[in-house]
């Protein structure tokens, strides 16, 4: 009586594919690094590696935050604006005499609040994520400019502004921050049930709901994480540039989304990882760094960046299709 439908079915399990996939993206990154090592004298100098790690760090953190949102089939266009805005808030708090740590905490809290607002707009008001986060983008820049009256607020706290330049165990502090975000993010996304709910909501919201998953809370969570990562990047940026300025980080949302997508996340949701976007962000940073070292004309640099994005994602696509 026993029927064995399984003997016709033999699907490659998902986990193996994922590792393979990330390996090959890493492969691409390593390839770029080796090529640049051969093509330039200065690429593999400690100074340059530090620079590279610093330069990719902020996008990487934004990309991690964005990943949570994109896995739920959403999008967060506001992250660039949140970064700029947070730098203003922090600078403003410091200027007002708030001590550093409380100021940072308040800035991150404001990130949480923005995430809550996004969740509210999507869940309660029924707005498309694209719209609510685009609106926040616009408004936050406005509020930040109002606060600074269109210019910048200087940050005088030396210890704070030195932080972004500091190293720890030979690794730039900014890169440590990436690790600080990525490790819990990995545990959250891949090992905890909350992460699984993100995937479930992105895969089939109704199915998730019927399984008793609190879909609304999951969505809130994704946007809160994204906005908080962005606020955190705002703090790092403030440390790096030593000012609060609402117009900073323009277009970083696209960079973050691009890193995420290069890292194998699907904009239709339910597909994504933490390591992918990280690698994606450092691929983009490497392209820029390399072009600078090679003294590529900045116009050519744009052209090449575009082409490389196509090529990288194409090969990735090929391989994934092949491994099916």
């Amino acid at each position: 009586m026993a029927i064995t439908p399984s003997d016709t079915v033999a699907v490659a399990p998902r986990r193996g594919m994922n590792v393979l996939f990330s390996l090959t993206l890493i492969g691409l990154l390593l390839f770029l690094w080796i090529a640049l090592g051969l093509g330039t004298a200065s690429f593999w100098t400690p100074l340059n590696i530090s620079n590279l790690l610093r330069q990719g760090a902020m996008t990487a953190i934004l990309a991690v935050g964005q990943t949570f949102v994109i896995i739920t089939a959403g999008i967060d266009l506001s992250v660039g604006a949140i970064v700029g805005f947070s730098s203003v808030i922090l600078a403003w708090l410091l200027q007002a005499g708030v001590p550093l740590w409380p100021a940072i905490a308040l800035t991150l809290l404001m990130g949480v609040a923005i995430g809550v607002f996004h969740g509210f707009g999507i869940v309660r008001m029924g707005l498309p994520p694209f719209i609510i986060t685009l609106a926040t983008l616009t408004s936050l820049r406005g509020i930040g400019l109002l606060l600074t009256n269109g210019s910048t607020i200087s940050i005088t706290n030396e210890a704070f502004t030195n932080f972004s330049r500091a190293d720890f165990l030979g690794i730039p502090s900014l890169f440590w921050m990436v690790i600080l975000v990525a490790v819990p993010a990995y545990i959250f996304l891949h090992l905890s049930r909350w992460g699984r709910y993100l995937f479930a909501v992105g895969s089939n919201r109704e199915a998730a709901r019927l399984s008793g998953v609190n879909v609304n809370r999951t969505i809130y969570m994704a946007y809160i994480l994204s906005a908080t990562c962005a606020a955190f990047v705002g703090v790092l940026l403030a440390s790096r540039i030593g000012i609060g300025n609402a117009t900073q980080a323009e277009g970083w949302e696209l960079q973050a989304i691009a890193s995420t997508v290069i890292g194998g996340t699907s904009l239709f949701g339910a597909v994504g990882s933490i390591h992918g976007p990280l690698i994606g962000a450092f691929i983009l940073a490497t392209i820029n760094n390399g072009a600078n070292l090679l003294n590529v004309n900045s116009f050519w640099q744009r052209i090449i960046t575009g082409l490389l994005i196509i090529i990288i994602v194409y090969f990735d696509q090929l391989r994934r299709r092949g491994s099916r």
Partner: protein, 517 residues
């Protein structure tokens, strides 16, 4: 304890869940009093009053769109009622959210598979009910338990596989396993066998009886009368959203139920006329492709060629190969005596082939578009004058199919997603009837379709045949192919393993061939 029991009894200490255990078998466990649901102006369920008794298997039958699925969705917190009252173990309950239903032990296997296609089978089985330690999921343990449960149920599915890599039938089994795992007290099946073959159905029935043995109350919705009579203790009939009666299965018969359902009787469901066979329309010679190998068969004008097999036997793949959706690797196709190369779907359509595919959700319908657009999609070219579509012809064609197939809808502008399952299936059929082809391939055409309409569809087949067309009928529902096909081919693992003229082999022979014993 079996694996299923182990998993299912994880939550036995929950007081809410235990509530149902105190209801003695045979007394009311769930009572619906004047339950009502409106979608805007649509009264999907008029005040309905039904009582379910603890431990019984209670079948619900009714035409497409009668409100069966609506009823189920109300009981499981998928949608909220417009009016009425639900008594659970004698107490009035809200059942406003899925969580509330799950907490009380009310679960359902819905008509449309509602799982997460991107997640693994194991992840789907445990979704919302994960096993954690220190805040982290026990992935490996869950996978092992999932596999054990699947094996225990005899489903033989890989727990680690991504859900979307399974066929719909297999997914339906996953949904079943899931419902059985959740410490269920009250389990509802909404047409669970629609995508299953007889063997899988038998497996499912075994599971249902096993659950009944453990005291679970079962509600069973089906369009297949023989299943109702095989399984159920009592049966309720819905018509146009109204509860028109409940009978003890032992005290009623098929004709009475059908009469209650559609307010008239059908003498015979399978409609087979003597139609003289004409020229050979299509011949496949040693055709191989992804999922099928060395298949040779032919279809003549006026002939229904039936393809039977188990899930995954490769019939659908063969059909897609004929239709140019998958490229064939070897063999020949002859059309009206001439060798042809069918490169893509359009080429097939231009020859005169129509394919009503197997999965209405994935292949058949644009769910969030209107019925009319769906019906007309293959024929817009014919409906256009130059670049512009004739609105009149467009409307006329859509309305004709809606009428011919008695599709229950207020207007062709209604979105397909808001239709009942059976009515959606009719749209898939209607879409291809207007194409005016010489060869119709119907892949599981009557999945979820009510008896009355089935008869209607079979009658339409006869009309097509009389018009000089040939039909390839793929069905996992043996009675259907057995009673209709002039020639019946049996598939097993991608190969044609047996061919029989009308009624030349017995049901048992055909089954044996399909299983390969």
């Amino acid at each position: 304890m079996t694996s299923l029991e182990q998993v299912a009894h994880r939550h036995d200490d929950s007081p809410v869940l235990a509530e149902a255990n105190r209801v003695p078998p045979g007394s009311p466990i769930l009572e619906l009093k004047g339950l009502q649901k409106n979608y805007g102006y649509v009264q999907a369920l008029k005040p309905a009053t039904v009582t379910f008794l603890a431990g019984e298997i209670h079948a619900i039958v009714g035409e497409n769109g009668a409100g069966k699925s609506t009823l189920i969705k109300l009981l499981t917190g998928v949608i909220t009622r417009t009016a009425g009252e639900i008594l659970w173990c004698g107490n009035s309950v809200a059942l406003a959210t899925p969580n509330e239903a799950i907490a009380r032990g009310i679960n359902a296997v819905h008509q449309e598979v509602v799982l997460c296609p991107h997640l693994s089978v194991a992840a789907n089985l445990f979704l919302g009910d994960e096993i954690n330690r220190n805040g982290l999921m026990r992935k490996r343990q869950m996978e092992k338990m999932a596999q054990a449960v699947l094996d225990d149920l005899g489903f033989h599915l890989p727990a680690a596989a991504v859900l979307s890599s399974l066929t719909i039938g297999q997914q339906q089994l996953v949904a079943t396993a899931r419902a059985a795992m959740r410490g269920t007290q009250f389990l509802i099946f909404d047409e669970p066998t629609a995508y299953l073959t007889r063997q899988e159905s038998a497996q499912l029935f075994k599971l249902i009886r096993r659950l009944q043995g453990e005291g679970v109350t079962i509600v069973y919705i089906s369009h297949r009368m023989e299943e109702v009579f095989e399984l159920a203790d009592r049966v309720s009939v819905l018509r146009d959203g109204t509860h028109v009666g409940t009978r003890l299965v032992g005290e009623t018969n098929e004709n009475e139920l059908i009469a209650l359902m559609i307010n008239r009787s059908i003498e015979q469901i399978y409609h087979k006329e003597e139609i003289p066979l004409g020229e050979t329309i299509l011949e496949a010679r040693g055709l191989s492709g992804p999922g099928f190998e060395n298949v040779s068969l032919s279809v003549r004008a006026g002939e229904i060629v039936g393809l039977y097999g188990l899930i995954g036997a490769g019939r659908s793949e063969f059909a897609l190969g004929l239709y140019g959706r998958h490229s064939t690797t070897s063999g020949e196709i002859h059309w009206m005596g001439k060798k042809v190369d069918i490169r893509d779907e359009r080429a097939a359509m231009d020859l005169g082939i129509a394919l009503a595919p197997e999965s209405r959700r994935d292949q058949g319908l644009c769910l969030n578009l209107p019925i009319g657009l769906n019906i007309n999609l293959p024929v817009f070219k014919r409906l256009s004058r130059g670049p512009v579509i004739s609105r009149k012809d467009e409307a006329a064609n859509a309305d004709k199919q809606i009428r011919d197939l008695s599709i229950k809808t207020p207007s062709r502008r209604v979105l397909v997603s808001s239709m009942s399952g059976g009515n959606q299936q009719k749209v898939v059929i209607g879409k291809w009837l207007s194409h005016g082809a010489r060869l119709f391939i119907f892949d599981e055409p009557t999945v979820g379709v009510d008896v009355g309409t089935k008869a209607e569809i079979y009658r339409l087949f006869a009309t097509l045949l009389k018009g000089g067309a040939g039909i390839i009928l793929i069905s996992s529902y043996l009675p259907e192919v057995y009673e209709l096909a002039d020639r019946l081919h049996v598939f097993r693992r991608g190969q044609l393993v047996g061919s029989h003229d009308f009624h030349a082999a017995s049901h048992e022979d055909v089954l044996a061939e399909a299983i390969g014993v």
